[in-house]
Structure formats: C-alpha cells, structure tokens
Symmetry: C2
Subunit: 463 residues, 2 copies
C-alpha cells in the first residue's frame, strides 16, 4: 500500500513537472498566444477549464493519499492546494493566475454554499430541537472555552493588533465542523453510537452558535471600521444578534409555511429536474437574503438545508425521482473541492519561516484542542464516554477556514482583520485539529469498547 501511495505522489509530481515544462518552454504568455492564434475568443473559458482540471486532479489525488492514512480527504485537498499555491517558491509560477481569477473565486464560494446546504440537509429542525440539553450544553461549553482561549492566545502573540483581531481569532476557534466530525465517525464505523449522536447534535448547534458569533463579530468590526470608531453601542450588537436570530427563526417559520406550497407547485410543473432546481432556488435565495441582511451567505445556505424537510418533496421521490441528497451530491463533488484546494492555494508558505507564526499556530492549535475538552464537563451520564465527546468536537475544518477567509476580506483601519500570517496560523490550526482527530477519537472509542466489554464480562460473571 505504501508503494501505491508513493505511485500516486509520483504521478501528481510528474503531471506538475510536465505542466511546468510546458509553461516554461512556451513562456508566461504561451497560453494567451495560443488562444489569440486560434481565435476562438473563448480565452476566459479556457483559463477556467485549465484551473478546474488542475484542481479536480489535485483534489482527487490528494484526497486519495490522505484517505490511505485514514485522514479525511479534505486534508489532502488542502495540502495539495498548498503545494500548487506555493510552487512559485521553486521558480514555477504557472499557477499564480489561479489565485486572482474572480470566476474561480465565485465558483469556490458557490461550492461552499452547496456544502453548507448539504450539511444543513443532514439534519432537520425537529432533530435539532430533539437533541436536547446534553447536546446544547456540550455546544455552549465548546464555544465559550475556545473563544476566550483563542482571544487570550491572540493577545499574547499579536498584542500590537486591535482588540477586534483578537476577538475574531477567538471566534475562529469556536465552530466544530459537522462535516468532518460526521465523516470521521462514519469512517471508523461509529456513526450510530450515543456518543456520535451527542457530538453531531452539539456540532449542529455549535455551527449555528459559531455562525451567530461570526455575524456578531463581523458586524461589530464593520460598524467600528465604518466611522463610529469610538465603539459600538450595545443596541447595535443586539440588533446584529437579533438580525441573525430573526433570519434563522424567520427562515424556519416562513420555510414551514412557504416550502410545502412551493414544492407542491413545483411538483405540478412539467419538465425535468424541477426538484433539484427548486431546491437550488431555496438554497440560493436564502443565501442571497442572508447576504442582504448582513449575514454570510453560507448562514442562509445552512438554514435552507435545515428547513428542507423530506416530506415537502416526498411527491417527487414517490414518483421515482432521486432523493435530494443524491441530486445535490454530484454538484458538491464538482464544486466543493474547488473551495478547499483554493483555500490551500491561498496559504503563503513564506509566512511559515517566521518562527513567531509557527509558535502562534502551535499555541492556537493547543487552545483549539483544549478548549473543546471542556465539552466533556457538560456530560453527566456515566454510561457515555465523555472523553470521546471532547475529542470528537476537535475538528474545525471548513467553518474555521470560512471564518479565516471572511476575516481576510474584512478591512479594519486599512488592513485585513486576518493578515497573511494570521491566516496561515489559522490554516495550520485547522490542518492540525483535523489531522489529530481521527487517531485520538478512534483510540478513545475503541478503548471505551474494551472497558464496556470488560464490565459486561464482570457483570455476567457475577450473575
């Protein structure tokens, strides 16, 4: 297997080398010249095609490599993205235009919108209300502790930055990635344990809490940046919170009333693909409205996924059409890796040479991991493997990266809230938390199994 893995890396590097040779041999303007010569006038399309080819290939080869080491494939996408994005350090800048292509950026953002919609689809509003106190407490503990730990670490390591930067870094540590958590639990065959259910329930709540925090923090920083620099009133903070909560509550209430009628109407439409198109409409509309009220579009996409109840579009599946999840999947297979590979590409490896950043990243990672261990304090049922819960909450994944990318675009006093070096530290934290989870969670749950077996053996002996 080791050999197979190496073979894949060799193929990837060979392809990179071939492309590097091609680009160098024909010069930086090689592609453009070819396009003008052929005169099909479709050069922006060809640029995107080339970028999609490189990204899809990197995503699949990177994903494969990491899955072989039992790591989530999202890690492989990130790291192959980092390789592609930093080849200019070894003299090859053929991939540099990828970073500045606005269409690629928009495609990647549609990708993450689709991903959050998919994650939202995994749970229903009812399920979320059902998970109850345990999940809610785990989520709250798991948000508060990392938030203040991250804030503290930021004060220690980058004291010269404003308080808003420190708060934003704290916010970046809050949200558990429900996608990665679920993926890891599924990979080790523990998706149906009680621990898994609490983790997933908490991760869903904690995603929303994280998104509310993101909205609040982003709102505070935006308000502070736009003139009223003497501070933000508590009324404004409440209004931001109110908008975030109102949007989600409103989406749920309106969704429950409008969606059944919307899909009943869609069911009577002739033509193919109505279920998928209408679901994309709901997703894009809520993402758009979220953006319009000042929230991140992904908040809307996630809310859209949550309020989509299977019963609304049962008519479609009853007449033999595919499940919505199956219809969304190909679109997510196509678009989601663009987000993660591109996120990796934006990592600037030169910042890694600064030991201060490496130290910051390391301590941030420790804060992220320890912060979530507080979650186990919220569990009182002794039958449950508390440590596994804390460990299962570790992965930050896409939500952390989304936070970082929003921070990188958010301006305060003429510079981005998340500067290149901080971004790199956050990405290192995401990579490490994602990397560390599978082995420790696996070990904890399997040890728990042994204890239970031993206890079962003792109790059966007593009988």
């Amino acid at each position: 297997m080791r050999l197979l893995t190496n073979k894949r890396l060799v193929i990837f590097l060979t392809l990179l080398a071939v492309y590097a040779f091609y680009s160098l041999a024909f010069g930086a303007t090689g592609i453009e010249a070819g396009e003008n010569e052929s005169g099909h006038g479709a050069s922006p399309v060809l640029d995107i095609l080339l970028e999609l080819i490189v990204i899809l290939l990197a995503a699949k080869l990177g994903g494969d490599l990491f899955e072989r080491f039992k790591a989530p494939s999202v890690l492989g996408e990130l790291i192959f993205g980092i390789i592609i994005g930093n080849l200019h350090l070894v003299g090859f800048d053929g991939f540099e235009p990828f970073k500045h292509n606005i269409t690629l950026e928009i495609l990647s953002e549609i990708g993450v919108i689709i991903l959050l919609f998919e994650v939202g689809l995994e749970s229903t509003v009812k399920e979320m209300l059902k998970v109850g106190v345990a999940s809610f407490m785990v989520a709250v503990f798991g948000v508060i502790a990392p938030f203040f730990l991250g804030w503290g670490v930021a004060i220690l390591f980058i004291p010269d930055h404003s308080i808003y930067v420190h708060i934003f870094i704290g916010a970046t540590l809050t949200a558990t990635s429900v996608g990665i958590t679920a993926r890891v639990l599924k990979d080790i065959g523990k998706i149906n344990t009680k621990e898994a259910k609490i983790i997933l329930g908490a991760a869903v709540i904690d995603d929303i809490l994280g998104l509310v925090i993101l909205a609040v923090v982003t709102g505070i920083i935006t308000a502070a940046a736009s003139g009223s620099s003497d501070g933000i009133s508590s009324g404004a903070v409440l209004w931001i919170i109110a908008k975030a909560v109102l949007f989600i509550v409103g989406a749920v209430v309106i969704g429950g009333f409008v969606l059944p009628r919307f899909f009943k109407f869609g069911f009577r439409l002739k033509g193919q693909g109505v279920l998928l198109s209408f679901s994309l409409l709901v997703c894009f509309l809520l993402a758009y409205l979220a953006g319009e009220v000042g929230l991140a579009p992904i908040v809307g996409a996630f809310a859209a996924g949550l309020i989509m109840e299977e019963v609304y579009y049962k008519d479609f599946t009853d007449r033999g059409e595919h499940q919505l999840e199956e219809l969304i999947k190909p679109i997510s297979i196509f678009l989601v890796p663009i987000f993660f590979v591109r996120m990796g590409m934006m990592v600037d490896l030169t910042t890694f040479t600064e030991t201060k950043i490496l130290g910051f990243a390391a301590v941030l990672t420790v804060a992220a991991i320890l912060g979530k261990q507080v979650c186990s304090l919220a569990i009182f049922d002794k039958q449950i493997n508390r440590f596994a819960i804390g460990l299962g909450m570790i992965p930050r994944g896409e939500v952390g990266l989304i936070f970082a990318s929003i921070g990188a675009k958010l301006m305060y006093e003429g510079e981005p809230v998340i500067v290149a070096s901080t971004y790199s530290a956050v990405v290192i934290m995401v990579i490490l938390t994602t990397l560390v989870t599978p082995p420790v969670l696996m070990i904890s749950l399997l040890r728990g199994d042994k204890k239970k077996q031993a206890a079962a053996a003792v109790s059966s002996n007593k009988k």
Copy 2:
C-alpha cells in the same frame, strides 16, 4: 390546463414586478448600498446568486409553459430569457447587469460544455460506425443543402456583408440538434422506431460535420482577419480540416488506449466521487485541448462524451455507484439552462422592428426547413417513412445558437461576423425550426402508423 398555464405566467410576471418594484424603489445602487452597509464583502457572489435565482426560476417556469404545449422546454428557457433580456424596453433595467457579468458567461459556457458532453455520452464510437450508409448519407445531404441554401439567402438579404459572413450563415444552418431531436422523439414515444434510429445516427454524424464546418469556417475567417486578407491558401484550409479531423480521430485512438487505464487507476483511488470527477476531468481536458488547437471547446466536450465507453468505468457501477449519466444530470440541470436563458437574454428585440430582419429570418427559416427535406432523398428503403426523416432533422436548437454566439465573438474587419440583427435572425430561425418540429413530426409519424395499419389490414384480409 389553460388556467394552470396562465397561473404560471401570472406568477412569473408577479415575481418580475416585485423585483422591478424593489429595484426601482431602492434605486440602481440599492443592492450595492446594501452590500456595503452589511460589509460581508461578498458582493460578486451575491450578484451571481441573484442571477442564478432569476435564471433558474425563468428556466423552470418557461420550460413548464412550453412543455404544456408539447414544445421542448428549451424553447421556454429561450423565450423567458428574451423577456428578461428585453425588459429595459418597458423601462426596467434591473436585469441589464446580467448581460455583462463575465462569471455568468463562463458558467453558461461550462453549461454548454456539459450539455455536449452529455449528448456525446448518449452514443458510442461503435454505434456511430454501425449506423452505416443510410445515416451518413442523410447527414451529408442534410448538411450540404442547408449550407448552400443559407449562403444563397445571405447573399440575397445582406449583400453588403463580406463572403465570410455569408458562408458563416450557411454554416449556421447545417447542424441538427441531436438533443432536441432525441427529446422530441422521446416525448412522442417514438424513440425506438427505425426512423428514430436513422435520425439519431444522422444527427450525430451531422453534429460532427457541423462542428468540422464550424472549425473550418472559423479558421478561414480568423486567418483572413489576421492580416492575410488576400485570401486563405488551400493548404491552410486543409490544415484546419486536418486539425479538426486529427483531433477527433486522435481523441478516439488515444481515448481507447488511455481511458481504460485512467479509470482503472481512478477505481483504486480512495475517496468519494472519483467516477464523476475523472469524467469531468476527461471532459474539461478535451474541451481545453480542443480550444488550444483552435477548435471550439464544445467539440472537445462532445468528443470526450463519445469516447467514454461504459465498459471503462464498469468497475464503479459494479460496486454499486451510480451510472455516469445520472451523475452528470444534476450538474446539467443546474448549468445548462443558464446557457439557454442567457442566449435568449442576448436577443435584442429592437432589431425585430426592422422589417428587413424579419424577412431575412423568415426566408432563413424556410431555407433551414427545406434544406433538411433533401435528407429524404438519401433513403431508398420504402418501408421507412422518408418524410419523417426530413422533418426530424429540422430542429437546430443549441448547435445553431452556439454557432451564432461564436460568430458574434468572431471579428472580421472591425465588426463581428454575426452582428446583432443577424444574430436575431438566427435566433428566430432556431426558435421557429424548434417550434415547428414537434407537431409536423408527430403528424407524419402518426399518419405513417395509420398507413401501416391499413396495409396490414389489407394484407391480412388477402390471407
């Protein structure tokens, strides 16, 4: 049913009115102001989301309306696109930015690449070689006649334009839309008749002939435009033809050797969605290479679909994964309507007020229809309903629109080969040929059935 249809139109118009009110009330800068205020910095994404919402809704409502009248839904997408694109004539210009958004244009072109890949998947290289002399003759007759008829009509109606414009218009009339043809035959339940098989076989060949003609004509015009205006050497023409043919033959040969190994390699990769990602890689790579050798990217996408044989990726479906067609479909449901609605949006209705264009469009449509009736001369088997073959070859659909859009981007002597008025005439021709086919083909085939039944009754009486 009439009432239902009207209800849909009312809903569409109401939504348009709501959006119009919103835009007018908040002014042209309303959306931008909202974005700046909220400060999420994602304005290009929100623009695209809004455009996708409008386009998806228009596509589904328009498709439904036309399917109710037994017309292909692509017509509805076109016509609703025309409505959206021309609302500025009644004073609402909220949709004007849609026309100039480069990302939307690229998305629509990825859509048409996916569509041609899908159409290519419908047939295999083997099937194409099997359809034999009949289909080939039908295709050749059905290309030559409309080409010269279109050329002649262009000389008559726009004599002041260069010979290249006349040739291009001839080329625009050549290719039957295999998608629409198949769709119509399926809609009237005749997909498995002998006539259907000949039409489909011919449409496939005729698609390739059309694409070769497009490549040759585009190449000739590009060569003429780029300096060597004293004419193009026959060597250059041969080289263009050779490149086009070599690309397709090369794709077939290399595909037969490389693809099985590529998918065998992909089968051993861990991670989700490898089949879809690898198929998209093949599609995008051939589309990109086609663009690089001077062909249209869609030629490559179609070739990619053709060379993808099911046996190459049987391993995937054997282990329970979805068929490739099912995996591509959601992506095509999402992206393909963008192309057709956007194509409709580019139609400038003000050009329709010029009676000369209307006359040109009408005669072009007659040439397009009569040109394909020559196909029936290629059929010698009396068992076959020759007229149905000629009628089945009428629809021009997407390929005609693609030709027109390429012509609109092709510059000769400082102006596009297909100017706005000519583009409108071509779109009218496409709309009319697509509109006229379903009823006449249906009538011809059903009348054929009656004749056969009568003949069968007579012969059984004789026994």
